[in-house]
């Protein structure tokens, strides 16, 4: 009985996907008690309070306590599940009376939950404890608490991990704040791949070779990025380890013709890719450890842009064998080819992490992102202008997607929920950015 209000709010968060997509329930994470099936945005949100973190040890010369609260709050806002409705001064540690007073104040202001962040600064190390409270219960029950630590330069990452934990507590699946985006900047003839936090902060270079670098795709372990580059004159396929010293580069495929459109198998052992070494763009599977090649398509048309299903059993791809480029699907051995989309100009297939949806780009004067069930049913628009909207990339939660749009007059990156809500431009501070690719959750 005590929990009727919070229960009502949580039930409101059980969001029916407006696009008719149903995903299987997430595998319950250990130690998590609340399960919500969340596939879209929705207007009902959980109101949460995040005061400035409380410094319990050390001196906060870097202003980390405020940064942690602000970044956590922004992460929760763009998750589409929460409204940050209160915050302000830190709540003292070990003062239950003051805690009760502040929580009652927040509850009266409409907050359903509160994050009490405690921060210990030990030299260059930051230790944070997140305590999550249910403000709808008269006792302000503690829902969960968890400790995190990081080096001081990683303060924002600490906040991302806290936000992901809060999302986990309320939905059964972690958030996607502790992730990266790789993307392409530059102009015709000179394009480089950069990496930033998913929210645009902490930009760092990946490639820096003065050539044309395209089509970044994260490996499933989030440690490397496959990409096509003209750095050796021809469009060859490489992989770069952007977080390691000197950012080592490995050649994956450098055959005659094009070496492009990489897609990692879910286990990271194989790459599907497009090669034209036998005279025509066809789809192959490369065993990464051995360099062994297997050819999947044999058709006089263009076959390109393979993308693995999350089960590893099927590959979606683009073929113009029907006269215009369309999305097709085949089994991973190249058999059982079927055309998925019809009547239109369709490229850039992107299989959802849950497997039930394939996004693609439809060209009809301008470009928009569409979705179709993996069964081939129910094609529907995800964007409808303004401008061109293309190059979708799924976040690992299967709820958010990043994409490029020239709606502002220049190519910029955005993310949003699949239902179009929580649209956010990713602030990268560059004139043009394209080809976003959302990393898996960081290890």
């Amino acid at each position: 009985m005590k929990r009727t209000v919070l229960t009502a709010v949580l039930v409101a968060l059980v969001i029916v996907a407006s696009l008719g997509a149903w995903a299987p329930p997430p595998v319950p994470a250990q130690g998590v008690d609340v399960y919500i099936n969340v596939t879209g945005g929705g207007s009902k949100k959980l109101n949460i309070a995040i005061p400035t973190f409380t410094v319990v040890s050390g001196t906060d010369a870097g202003g980390h306590a405020k940064t942690l609260a602000a970044v956590t709050g922004n992460d929760l806002t763009v998750s589409g599940l929460f409204s940050v409705v209160a915050g302000g001064e830190p709540v003292p540690a070990n003062n239950s009376e003051e805690l009760r007073r502040r929580w009652s104040e927040f509850a009266a202001a409409g907050a359903h939950a509160a994050v009490h962040g405690l921060l210990a600064i030990r030299g260059e190390r930051l230790e944070a404890e997140m305590r999550l409270y249910d403000l709808t219960s008269p006792t302000h029950a503690l829902i969960a608490s968890k400790k995190f630590d990081a080096g001081a330069p990683q303060a924002r990452r600490l906040a991302h991990r806290i936000a992901d934990e809060v999302v986990l507590q309320f939905t059964g699946e972690p958030g996607v704040a502790d992730t990266k985006i790789a993307y392409v900047v530059g102009r015709p003839g000179a394009k480089e791949i950069l990496v930033a936090d998913y929210d645009g902060a902490g930009t760092m270079p990946a490639t820096r070779n003065g050539s044309i670098n395209l089509m970044p795709v994260w490996s499933p372990d989030a440690r490397s990025i496959a990409f096509t580059s003209f750095m050796n004159g021809y469009p060859d396929l490489f992989r770069i380890f952007p977080f390691e010293p000197q950012r080592p580069v490995q050649t994956l495929a450098a055959f005659a013709g094009i070496n492009s459109s990489p897609s990692w198998s879910p286990d990271g052992r194989f790459l599907a890719l497009t090669l034209s070494l036998h005279g025509n763009p066809e789809i192959y599977v490369l065993t990464v450890a051995t360099g062994k090649l297997e050819r999947l398509t044999r058709h006089a048309a263009i076959d390109t842009e393979p993308v693995w299903s999350p089960t590893g059993r099927q590959i979606a791809f683009v073929s113009d064998r029907a006269g215009q480029p369309r999305i097709h699907v085949m089994d991973v051995d190249g058999t059982n080819v079927r055309q998925l989309t019809s009547s239109g100009f369709h490229t850039q297939p992107r299989w959802s992490p849950k497997g039930n949806i394939i996004l693609y780009t439809q060209r009809q004067g301008t470009h928009d992102i569409w979705a179709i069930d993996a069964s081939g049913a129910n094609p529907r628009p995800i964007t409808a202008g303004p401008g061109d909207n293309q190059g979708a990339s799924w976040a690992p939660d299967g709820r958010h997607l990043a994409f490029q749009s020239n709606r502002s007059g220049r190519w910029q990156l955005y993310f949003m929920l699949l239902d179009g809500s929580a649209l956010t431009q990713i602030p990268l501070g560059v004139n043009e950015a394209t080809s976003p690719t959302w990393s898996p959750r960081l290890p």
């Binding site: 329930p25 580069v249 450098a254 034209s276 683009v318 051995d333 849950k354």
Partner: protein
């Protein structure tokens, strides 16, 4: 640490709701609707990627997987230069067939190449900015290949010809109109002495 006490009711309520919600929806996941191949050659979930190098292992230009070799050595595109004698050919949107008027251009180009047999030729395939860059890289390849095939049909030796696709990455005209796009959908020729 997670406080479990008191959450059972919330959990069971939500789980119950969710399962009811699920039952109303058709299962549309690919995993259940498609037959699994008898022996999937790739993508079978198993051990972590063996190709991942130890953090200190790879240096720049020191691949950890066997570097795939090319069937034959490729001449560097930088060694080739454009010449006025070889004219560009152009393509319709999303097409890679040679148009009749361009066939005449290619006849002249073929004649020049046969007369100047000491030259190797590089054919670049290009696209306009419309479409998406992954697809356009393949489309540019088909345009270069179609151009090459025509020259070969006119008696130019195939082993003198190298092709490269730049997709939409190297436009010669940067305005957003058909006049400009039509200039970018091209096959371009460069030569170098043998």
């Amino acid at each position: 640490m997670v406080i479990r006490a008191g959450h059972l009711m919330v959990m069971s309520l939500l789980l119950g709701l969710m399962l009811v919600g699920c039952a109303k929806r058709p299962a549309t996941t690919a995993a259940t609707s498609a037959p699994a191949p008898a022996a999937p050659p790739a993508g079978t979930p198993s051990t972590p990627a063996p190709a991942t190098p130890a953090p200190s292992a790879p240096g720049p230009g020191a691949p950890t997987a066997p570097a795939p070799t090319t069937p034959e050595a490729r001449p560097s595109p930088k060694e080739f230069t454009s010449i006025a004698a070889l004219k560009d050919v152009f393509f319709d949107f999303d097409k890679y067939d040679i148009r009749p008027e361009d066939a005449k251009t290619l006849d002249a180009n073929a004649a020049w190449l046969k007369t100047n047999a000491d030259n190797l030729v590089l054919i670049e395939g290009h696209c306009d900015e419309r479409g998406t860059n992954e697809y356009n890289l393949a489309l540019g390849e088909r345009r270069a290949k179609a151009t090459m095939n025509y020259l070969v049909s006119q008696g130019v030796q195939a082993n003198r010809i190298t092709i490269i696709s730049y997709g939409e990455e190297r436009p010669i005209c940067n305005e957003k109109n058909e006049s400009c796009w039509s200039k970018n959908r091209r096959g371009h020729f460069l030569v170098k002495p043998r």
